[in-house]
Amino acid sequence: MVLAQLQCFVPERNDLNQHRVIGSAVPRKEGFDKVTGRARYADDITLPGMLYGATVRSKIPRGKIRQINFGPGVDWNDYVVVTAKDIPGRNCIALISDDQPCLADGFTNHPEEPILLVAHPDRRQLSKAVEAVEVICDPLQAVFSMEESERQTEVIWGTDNLLKTFLIEKGSLEGIWEKAAHIVEGEYFTGAQEQLYIENNGMIATYDVAAGVTVWGSLQCPYYVHKALMALFALPEDKVRVVQMETGGAFGGKEEYPSMIAGHAALLAMKAKRPVKVVYDRMEDMAATTKRHPSRTRHRTAVDASGKILGGEIEITMDGGAYATLSSVVLSRGTIHAGGPYCWPNVTIRSKAVATNSPPHGAFRGFGAPQTLFAMERHMDRIAEAVGISPVEVRKRNFLKPGMTTTTEQVIREDIDLERLLDHALELAQYQEKKRHFPAQCRSGKMKKGMGIAAFLHGAGFTGSGERYLSSVVGIEALPDGLIRVLVSSAEFGQGTNTVLCQIAAETLNLPYEWVTIAQPDTSIVPNSGPTVASRTAMIVGKLVHSAALGFKQTLLASGKLVENYKPEAFRQACSDHIKKHGELRSFSQYEAPSGIFWDDQKYRGEAYAAFAWAVYVAEVSVDLTTYSVTVDDFVALQEIGKVLHPRLAEGQIAGGVAQAIGFALYEKVVWQNGRMLNNQMTNYIMPTSADVPPIRVFFEELGNVHGAYGAKGIGELPMDGPAPAIINAITDALGVPFHFIPLLPEDIYAGLAAHSLAPVK
C-alpha cells in the first residue's frame, strides 16, 4: 500500500482543452445496464428467507405515548415486532446533534414519526398489521409555523425552539441608512419541496452475531449510514457494512434519511434472524421523509442614487421541522449565499433554523442556497425599480469583481467577469430585442410576456473547515489483469460520479477510459471519500482521484517496471507483474486543506469555499390571463463551472436542475395540515413533465480552478439556485405586479392581480 503525496496540479488556462479523456463525451459507465433494465436497485434484490418490513408511524404531531395495543384480527405470532426497547445501542440517528430517535420512545414530535416496526414473509400482510397497531397518546400542544416557533407559543425543542443560528457581520451599518438615497425592504418566502426521486427509498438488511450488520440500499452517503448503524447497534466499524445499490435519483433526499431506514431494516433483521427488506411506497416516502426547508428572508438595503449597495441587513428563518438533523448545515450554506454574487461593503446577516412539529426538513440540491438566492435576486429587481434603473444595470453596478470580498470577507481570487457573463447570457437570450417587442405583442392579447434574469454563485465542497474535518480518502488499485479500479464511497445516482472519476483516473494514468472501472460503494472495500453531497464529488473527490493516480504512477515508475511516456499496454503489464510479485498494488490519497485558506467557525468569516461556480440565467415567460397559468417559453442557463469534465453529463446536470427548479417555482406545492403533508401523491403533487419544460439552452464558460481535478468545479447544485428568481422576475416583468413567494400557482397570480385591481374579482 502506498500513500501518495499530494501533488499540486495547477492547470494553466490554455491547458484546459489539451486532454484525451477529460472533456470528451465517453459513455456512462453504468449506462448499458440502465438502458437494458439490468441495473439492480434495492427493490430488485430478494434474499433467501427474506421478510418484508413496515413502519408504524405517529398519527399526531406531538404527544406522550402512553400505550401501544396490538389489535384483534391479526395473528401477531406471524409477525416480528420491534420497538425502541429492542435497540442494542443508542436510540438515535447519529449525524450532527444526534437528537432524532430511530424509534420514538415515550414521546412523538411529528406526524409520521416511526414508533414501531413489523415484518412478515408476505408483504401483502403488512398493511393490516400496521393499521391494527393502536398507539395511544396524550396530545401536547404543537407548533406548525415558523412564526409560532419564533414566538415560542410552545417550546418544543431545546429551551427556545432554535435549532441553529448564525451571524455574519462585515463592516458596519452605522450611518449607512442616513447616507442612502433609497432604503429598499422586502420579504420573500419559499415553500417546502419534495425531492421526488422516482425510486422510492429502500433498504435490505441482514444481521449475524459474528459478522454484524450488513445493509444494501438506495443511498448517497455510505459512511453516514455506517456511522448511524455503529451507534444504533453499539458495534465497531468492522461489524457494520453498507453497500450502495444502484440509486434511482437522490437530490439530497437520500443523504440522511437512509440511515433511518437502514436502522429499521437492520433492527428487524436482528430480531427476525432473517434478511429484511424495507421499501417505502410513494405515499409513505412523500409523507415521512425530508423536504427542502421552507424559508422566509427579509432584506433591508441601503442604496445610493446610482443603485450601488451601501450596506444592508438580511434576516433568514428556515423551518427545520421536529429535529435538528442537517438544519445547521443547510442554514449555513443559505446564510453564506444570501448576499448573492454582489459586493456588500457592509452587511449583517442573521439566520436561524427553528423547530416545528413536522417531519424534519433536510438536504435537497442547493441546500439552503436556492432559498436565500431567490430572495436576493427578487430583491435586486426591487432595488432596480426603486432606483429607476434596469435589472441588468443594478446587477452590473454591484457585481463582485476579482479582489473584492464576499459577505464572509473571502477575497475573490478567480478571474471572473460577471458583467461579461451577464452580457453574454442576455445576448444568448436575445433579451434586449425581446424586451423591446413584448409590450407591442402583449398590448391587446390575453397573453402577457416577460423576461427575468438571475445572477448567482454556488460554493463547491463542504463549507469552511468542513473538508478538513472530513479528511476524505480515495484509492486506486490494479486488478490482477492489470486494469485499474477506483475506490471511493462517492455514490452514483445519475449525476455521473462513476464516469467522471474514471475519466480522471484514465487521463492521469494515460490509459483508455475503458480500462478503468469503479468499485461499487461498499464500506468493506472502499475508503471513506466523504458523502456524495455539496457539489464536492467532481472537484474534491476528483482531485483526490487525480492525486492517488499520480501516486500510483509514481510507484510504478520508481519500481523501474515502467518508464515515462509509457504505452498503456506497458502500464498494464507492469501492474500485472507487480501484483504477481507483491500481491496487490494500491495507492491512496487523503485530503489536505490547501495552504493559505482561513476560516473562522466562530465569526463565520473567511474562505467559505475553495471555489465558486458562477452563473447568469435568463427566463422568458408567458402568462395566460384567462387561466393565469405560466409557460416558460425559453430558458438560457449560462455558467462558469471550471473545466467541463464531460460535456454531455454536465449539460444533463444543468438541464435537470433547471427543470427541477421550474417545479420549485411554479408547480410543486406541499400542502400542510397540522404538520403533515396532505398531497403526498404524484397525482396531487405536480412535477414538470416532458410537456411542461421549455427548451433549456445550456452554455458553459471555463475558467479553470486550481482546487479541482483538471480545473473542475462543483456543478450539481448550481442549476437549482437561479431558475426560480429568474422566472418570478419574468412574471413580475410581464404583469407589472410583484410576487415574492414560491411556488407561485395560477391562483396566486390571480390573487395578486386582483389585489392590484388587475383581475376581475369573482
Binding site: 463525451a25 459513455p27 456512462r28 453504468e30 449506462g31 448499458f32 445496464d33 440502465k34 438502458v35 437494458t36 433494465g37 439490468r38 441495473a39 439492480r40 436497485y41 427493490d43 430488485d44 425531492q195 421526488l196 426521486y197 422516482i198 425510486e199 422510492n200 444502484e246 440509486t247 434511482g248 435519483g249 437522490a250 437530490f251 411506497d281 410513494r282 445516482f493 445519475g494 449525476q495 455521473g496 454531455r648 453529463l649 449539460e651 444533463g652 438541464a655 435537470g656 436542475g657 433547471v658 427543470a659 427541477q660 401523491q681 404524484m682 397525482t683 412535477m687 414538470p688 413533465t689 416532458s690 410537456a691 419544460v693 427548451p695 433549456i696 445550456v698
Partner: protein, 164 residues
C-alpha cells in the same frame, strides 16, 4: 366458498418477450408484481403505484400501459414486451443505443419505461415532431434530465432508423 380476502389463484397465460409463460396468480394481482415477483423481470419499476410516473411502463399488445394499473387477469393471452426483451441478440435497440449515447439515462430508474414509451411513440410516429415527442413521453416522469437529452435521444433514434 372462498372469501374476498383469500381470492383463488388462477393460471394466466402470457407471451412475455416472445416466450409463452404461464403463471399461477390472483387475477387481480398487478401485472407489475407478476412481472417482478413471479417472472423476475425487474426492469419495470414501481415509482408511484397509481399510474402517474410511468416507470412501470410495458408494451401490452403493442400499446404502452402502466403495469401497476393492469390486473394480470386482464392481460390473459396478451403479448408483452418489457425492457428485458427489447435488445435482440445482445444488440441494443436503436432507442436504447440513442439513450446511451445522448445521456438520456441518468439515474436510470425511469429509463426502462421511458425507452418503451419512446419505442411506442416511434411505432406510431416514425418521424415525430418535437411536440409529438413531448406529448408522447408526457406519461413518463423523469426527475434527472429535464427531458432535453431524452428528446435528443428520440431524435437520434429516428435518424438511426432512417439510415437503415
Amino acid at each position: 366458498m372462498p372469501s374476498l380476502a383469500e381470492p383463488v389463484k388462477q393460471t394466466v397465460q402470457l407471451t412475455v418477450n416472445g416466450v409463452a409463460r404461464s403463471v399461477l396468480v390472483h387475477p387481480m394481482d398487478r401485472l407489475l408484481d407478476v412481472l417482478r415477483h413471479e417472472l423476475h423481470l425487474t426492469g419495470a419499476k414501481e415509482g408511484c403505484g397509481e399510474g402517474e410516473c410511468g416507470s412501470c411502463s410495458v408494451l401490452l399488445d403493442g400499446q404502452i400501459v402502466n403495469s401497476c394499473l393492469v390486473p394480470v387477469g386482464q392481460a390473459e393471452g396478451a403479448s408483452l414486451t418489457t425492457i428485458e426483451g427489447l435488445a435482440a441478440d445482445a444488440r441494443l435497440h436503436p432507442v436504447q443505443q440513442a439513450f446511451l449515447s445522448c445521456n438520456g439515462a441518468q439515474c436510470g430508474i425511469c429509463t426502462p419505461g421511458m425507452i418503451l414509451a419512446a419505442v411506442h411513440l416511434l411505432n406510431s410516429h416514425p418521424q415525430p415532431t418535437l411536440d409529438q415527442i413531448r406529448e408522447g413521453l408526457s406519461g413518463n416522469l423523469c426527475r434527472c434530465t429535464g427531458y432535453s437529452q431524452i428528446f435528443e435521444a428520440v431524435n437520434q433514434a429516428v435518424r438511426t432508423s432512417e439510415a437503415k
